[in-house]
């Protein structure tokens, strides 16, 4: 079906009078936008509008609640203010009558920044506060000290970015006050709920359509800022607007799995039965959202073991975290090690 064009991705619909939006991403990791000079871009052929924090309507932060099914990928709406939180954050959207014209004009937008030096080293990361205990049963510290066999190992996992074949993209189209979003989404209901809260419009006036997607791996569970940029542009121009996230910006603006450092301590009796288990996770989180990877979620349930603890230090760091893919396999690897020993 895909090859014959019968199965369309969200961005493959051709709506009448549609325009193309190409995002301009920040080139600093942290700091403030000092100025956006679009004077040359404005005059280029086919350019219809150039949106940024200085000239767009206010958007709202949503409830950001997984339980209420209103969870965005990034709670900060695009163009909220002049702050830059990560490299590749959208700082402007150039809309033109063709993709090539929008792209050419986007290159001509000059953004000046007041940059701060971002803290991007994981080697020297040490938490300032004691860890918060996400789960505990029994007296872990004594049980760890008392086993016949013990194991204490630390593993790291690198930053991982999802790269589905189909890139994130949105077509936004308004008819009077009704908004239709053609999306690539693993959660259209959540997407619609977020749209209502962020754009401050009634739930019933929004339709989110996602018939086929080219993989998501979790990165399409929650909506990302380009969706709202498309909606803003479409409202402003009174015509459908398509915004596609280019492959390079798939590494910056639609989340990733953070680096983790995981320390696992085991104690077992002489029969090899686990008597204690502790799984500590250390990871950076986002400057915008306090997100924690569910690394220890499986650990707490995996083994029959009377004492267990999962401390997770809180650490306000850099980058853009997302994805709730877990990293449980480490627990299984350690079990094998202790039995053999």
């Amino acid at each position: 079906m895909k090859v014959t064009g019968a199965a369309k991705y969200g961005v493959e619909y051709a709506l009448e009078n549609m325009a193309w939006g190409v995002g301009v991403g920040s080139t600093i990791g942290s700091g403030k936008i000092v100025s956006i000079d679009s004077s040359e871009a404005d005059k280029m052929p086919g350019v219809l509008a150039i949106l940024h924090h200085g000239n767009t309507q206010k958007l709202y932060r949503p409830a950001n609640s997984f339980e209420e099914n209103s969870r965005p990928g990034e709670s900060r709406p695009p163009f909220e203010d002049d702050q830059v939180y990560y490299y590749g954050q959208f700082v402007a959207l150039v809309v033109a009558d063709t993709f090539e014209r929008a792209q050419a004009a986007a290159f001509r937008v000059i953004v000046k920044y007041d940059a701060r030096k971002p803290d991007v080293s994981t080697d020297e990361l040490t938490p300032k506060d004691p860890p918060s205990i996400k789960y505990e049963r029994g007296d872990v510290d004594s049980a760890l000290g008392g086993g016949a066999a013990k194991l204490d190992v630390t593993y790291t996992t690198p930053v991982e970015t999802h790269n589905p074949m189909e890139m994130h993209a949105t077509i936004a189209s308004w008819t009077k006050d009704k908004l239709t979003l053609y999306e690539t989404s693993q959660g259209v209901v959540n997407h619609r709920n977020c749209a209502a809260e962020i754009l401050a419009i009634p739930l019933e006036s929004i339709e989110v359509i996602s018939r086929f997607i080219g993989s998501g791996f979790g990165s399409k569970l929650f909506p990302w800022p380009h969706s709202w940029m498309a909606a803003l542009a479409s409202k402003q121009l009174g015509r459908p607007v398509k915004v596609s996230v280019p492959r390079t910006m798939m590494f910056t603006t639609v989340g990733h799995r953070p680096f983790t450092r995981q320390r696992i301590q085991l104690a077992a009796d002489t029969n090899g039965k686990l008597t204690a288990f502790q799984h500590e996770i250390f990871q950076p989180t986002s400057m915008v959202d306090d997100y924690v990877e569910n690394c220890a979620q499986v650990t707490s349930m995996l083994y029959s073991c009377p004492t267990a603890g999962c401390p997770v230090p809180d650490s306000q760091e850099y980058w853009h975290s997302h994805s709730d893919a877990w990293t449980g396999p480490h627990a299984l690897a350690f079990r094998d090690r202790i039995v053999v020993g």
Binding site: T27, E100, Q103, A104, F107
Partner: protein
Amino acid sequence: MEPFQYTKPATVNDAMTSVAASGAKFVAGGTTLIDLMKLNVERPTALVDINILPLDRIEPQAEGGLKIGAMVRNSDLAHDSRVQQMYPVLSEALLSGASPQLRNMATTGGNLLQRTRCYYFRDTNYACNKREPGSGCPAIDGYNRMHAILGTSEHCIATHPSDMDVAMMALGATIHLNGSAGERSVPITEFYLLPGNTPDRENVVRKGEIITHVTLPALPATAKSHYLKRRDRASYEFALASAAVILDMNGNKIRKAQIALGGVGTRPWRSPDAERELAGGDVSERTFRKAAEAALHGAKPYRNNGFKVELAKRTLVRALQTVTASA
């Protein structure tokens, strides 16, 4: 991508005239140039399309060896039976590079002129002495795992990424050019420039010149050749280290060696030091290892690419073992 004029000359003379204009560049397969234009690294104001020029033949030379037109596609060159028979190292090098689709488009001339994959060079948000002399080199103190350990300067450490050029360097190819000052030929050993303090100048091609063909000298009947490429992925990936080896054998002794390394130099790296160690030597790991030590003598590693020193040595040793083991 910037707007540009587009012409498609039918003769070499017309092509030379067109490309002499300020801001004009040739486009052949476009497998480097179009990429770099999309990244706004290359911004020609005029593209001179040379795809219909009559430079696409492979012909034997009267004095032995082959004459290869600049427009011969990489895939055609790699699969040519004469190339496979006379210069296995060249065919192997070509087939280890890129992907079939890219090889079908890429040309001999274009391959010689390919540019570095340094990510700072390819991203106009970074300073780069190669793009803008004097602006700085963020790779030297940045993330430099793919960068060079031979031929670097304090201004540039970008690796030359080619496979074919390394094989041709070992083969002692000659590059033939034509321009307003007439025809000339340049041995490949003199074709590429070290970055020094002018990393923006990569080769000796003058404005208005076109590469018309490459000639390869004949190898003795007793010669064997091989190309070995080491990289993170098994395909569609550039070399972390590679070796092109040509050995002229006298029984089980090496009469003469021609050695070039790839993935580790700022240009395809011919190694006379390795060749000296091998000349007259026996077929043994000890001899090969001595040659590898000589080849990498003076290599300068950077923060993330120190592993390349040992990797390049072992790649050369393995290539020599393979070529001497073959019938």
